[in-house]
Amino acid sequence: MSEVIKIKKGLNIQLEGKADNVFGQANLPEHFAVKPTDFHGVVPKMAAKVGDKVKAGTVLFYDKNRPEIKFVSPVSGELLAVNRGERRRILEVVVKSDGADAAEQFETAKVGELSKEQVVEKLQAAGLWPFIRKRPYDVIANPEETPKAFFISGFDSSPLAPDYDFVLSGQEEAFQAGIDAIKRLCDNVHIGVRNDAASKVFKGLNGVTVHAVEGPHPAGNVGVQIHNAMPINKGEVVWVTQPQEVVAIGKLFTEGKYDANRVIVLAGSEVEKKGYFRTKLGASISTLVKDNVKDGNLRYISGNVLTGTQIEDDGYIGSYHSQVTVIPEGDYYEFMGWATPGFNKFSVSRSYFSWLCPKKEYRLDANMHGGLRSFVVSGEYDRVLPMDILPEFLFRAILVEDIDKMEQLGIYELAEEDVALCEFVCTSKQKLQSILRGGIDLMIKELS
């Protein structure tokens, strides 16, 4: 084990509604969906028609610009609907499950005997390639590039996040198989683990470099770990994936099946019975939250409260998410809210009296607590971004679309999740994640 990466800047938002490490019981839902909007830069082109019978692993759609990147059904059943939004953009491809668990059969193989190209081909055929993403830009990896490393964050430090040590217990073999396959793609595999946790799954692995990381969120963000272990310079590429996706990759090679099984955590202040659930990618959350949430106007989030996507109470879990959070919507007017003592208000500044109780857990809602303003307060972002980057100047460069400056100020090292905390603390309520994505999209467009 190499030396410990100590993260000093950051913030743990103390939210009410953390799930204990227990499994809950819930039936699998009838409907599953793959959402093309989860994958940045993908232009979906349908490969199956409504009414077609599909199996787990059957291709539903592919990327128009890179047809070899395919997206597959998580379950067997019938393609029920293609839901479109404005300008006929495909939002959801819904599959009605028949409960039979039939799956496309792929050839099992000893990864040791395969070349990089063969592994890539197998992952693409089975619809697993979209789970390998790259930095810079946080988009699906390009197999023609040669990454300098493959990085996996072994823990999630965001609010109410799943505990991967718990999620992965019992999956050690599949995880190692996944790592073996990944090593064919790039021999230099790194895993970041929490310094104070046991992390049995990760520490017992062969052929990886383990980095112990400690500190507050965003210590678990893979981008932060990469920055501290081996910062990305211009022209370099690092591929990343998430722990449960490594298991799925492993199972493709050992069992020959597309494995859509995921453990997700259901958490948040408005959930009655919180806990972990065994479900599948793209599952509707209806069976999880029905009769299991408190009254009131609620916000359902696929993912965590910082980076997740808002969904309906029968919406679908995002492809990269292992978490469902439910919080109050907060669409109320608050009388003189900015002038109250604010014992119940969470703030990084000590401008509300809640600093008197540092251990308190908060029931935060989705209210913005103010209106959009210009950048006024300085130095806020620096305190929650543990990277050698000047976030405010980078955002300004993005806003004026100055590509050179964006590059010089380190846009290659950032993904939206890394600046989510900056957005959280922003006094002026700026939408920093979408500003950053705008900058990244511009870089991709101009430099390709």
């Binding site: 907060g330 900015w338 000590r350 401008s351 959280f424």
Partner: protein, 385 residues
């Protein structure tokens, strides 16, 4: 509360775009958000937000200014009755001070907010809260006998030329309150300097006890005599001067509020005082005239130094925005303030000019800090390659 909400909901449709009273949209919006934090929720990006907003931030700065304001009100009365040679009770002093100071506050806020609302309406923006602080700063940095119409003119100048021409709150180069003061100083110097303006009533020639000068401590030193106020008197603030600047003690209470809540930059405050102290020490060594001989610590308690360090230099918009830059920026303000103070023959105060000058150079300082970051990144790439 409920009734007020209903009232606002009833008015709201009439001030929307295209409705009869759309001219009042910004005004209505400002009042509505003053009474009620809006029901807006996050749509994409983060789903939860820190409870702090610009209203809260600005309101806290105003709260931090209150000790200086209250002390200023009392001190105006206290100095007035000393000048008259009349024994007055505490409440007489406060009463006189309030009569003199509160109209200035009302004019500053009334005129400034009026201009802000107009600009917000023309631009179709929400009213931003920046002026909440500027409107309180302006009364505190003018001499008490300044005519109210001058305050009004200076405020309009500050808001329009100092802020709105650059794009409004968050875009300005200089601190608007200091722009107001600089405007007054250069346009009406006789009302902003000399021995007469600092104590209410002196300019009108009301009966003054024999031998009373009314000069500020710095004025005395510039004229060639050691300041008559002791260090302790200067620290507590029992001296003539602009309304809010005399009491270093009251200002430090404000500084504690700003630093503890995390709203004011302690780096800037500390480095301004450090810069001033170092320059003061250097002048003490030189010691060519009475101003140079004023103790370094004493310098920090005189004139507007402390007020400028705590409330003016820390304005995040016009200050440097990088953390390293803040040290340099603050130190140079303190350093230059004392230098200007000692070398300027016409007017023995340099804080205003030092801060305005460093406001101008803040982007340059930031530029070098940013270049440093860029160079580090490039160097890293070369090592890797």
């Amino acid at each position: 509360m409920k009734a007020l909400r209903n009232l606002l909901d009833n008015i709201k449709p009439h001030v929307q775009k295209g409705a009869k009273f759309e001219k009042f949209h910004s005004t209505f919006d400002a009042l509505e958000t003053l009474f009620f934090v809006p029901n807006h929720t996050n749509k994409n990006g983060v789903h939860v937000r820190d409870a702090v907003d610009l209203k809260r931030t600005m309101a806290l700065v105003v709260k931090a200014l209150i000790p200086a304001l209250l002390f200023g009100i009392w001190n105006v009365g206290y100095q007035h009755f000393i000048a008259l040679g009349v024994d007055a009770t505490f409440w007489m002093q406060v009463g006189h001070g309030a009569l003199k100071v509160l109209p200035i506050v009302v004019v500053s806020y009334g005129v400034g907010l009026g201009v802000e609302f107009m600009f917000a309406q023309i631009r179709g923006h929400e009213v931003q809260e920046g002026f909440l602080v500027s409107g309180m700063l302006i009364p505190l940095i003018v001499p008490v006998d300044v005519p109210l119409w001058m305050v009004a003119v200076a405020t309009i100048f500050a808001v329009v030329i100092g802020k709105e021409v650059f794009g409004g709150t968050g875009m300005n180069i200089w601190n608007p309150a200091l722009v107001a003061r600089a405007f007054l100083f250069f346009a009406y110097p006789s009302k902003m300097s000399g021995d007469q303006v600092w104590i209410s009533g002196l300019t009108k020639g009301e009966g003054v006890v024999d031998g009373f000068s009314g000069a500020t401590a710095l004025g005395e030193a510039a004229a060639g005599s050691a300041p008559s106020a002791s260090l302790m008197e200067s620290f507590i603030g029992l001296i003539p001067g602009s309304i809010g600047e005399t009491s270093t003690l009251a200002i430090l209470i404000g500084a504690l509020i700003l630093i503890y809540t995390g709203i004011g930059s302690w780096k800037i405050m500390v480095s301004v005082f450090a810069g001033g102290y170092v320059m003061g020490l250097l002048f003490n060594l030189w010691g060519a005239n009475p101003l140079m001989e004023v103790g370094a610590l004493h310098h920090l308690c005189l004139g507007g130094f402390a007020f400028g360090a705590v409330f003016m230099a820390t304005d995040p918009v016009s200050a440097t925005r990088t953390e390293k830059g803040k040290w340099i920026y603050g130190f140079l303000i303190g350093f230059l303030a004392i230098m200007v103070r000692v070398f300027n023959p016409a007017y023995p105060e340099g804080v205003m000019l030092a801060i305005l000058l460093m406001n101008t150079f803040a982007p340059l300082i930031d530029h070098y800090v940013v270049q440093g970051n860029i160079k580090r990144r490039l160097k890293r790439a070369k090592i890797a390659a």
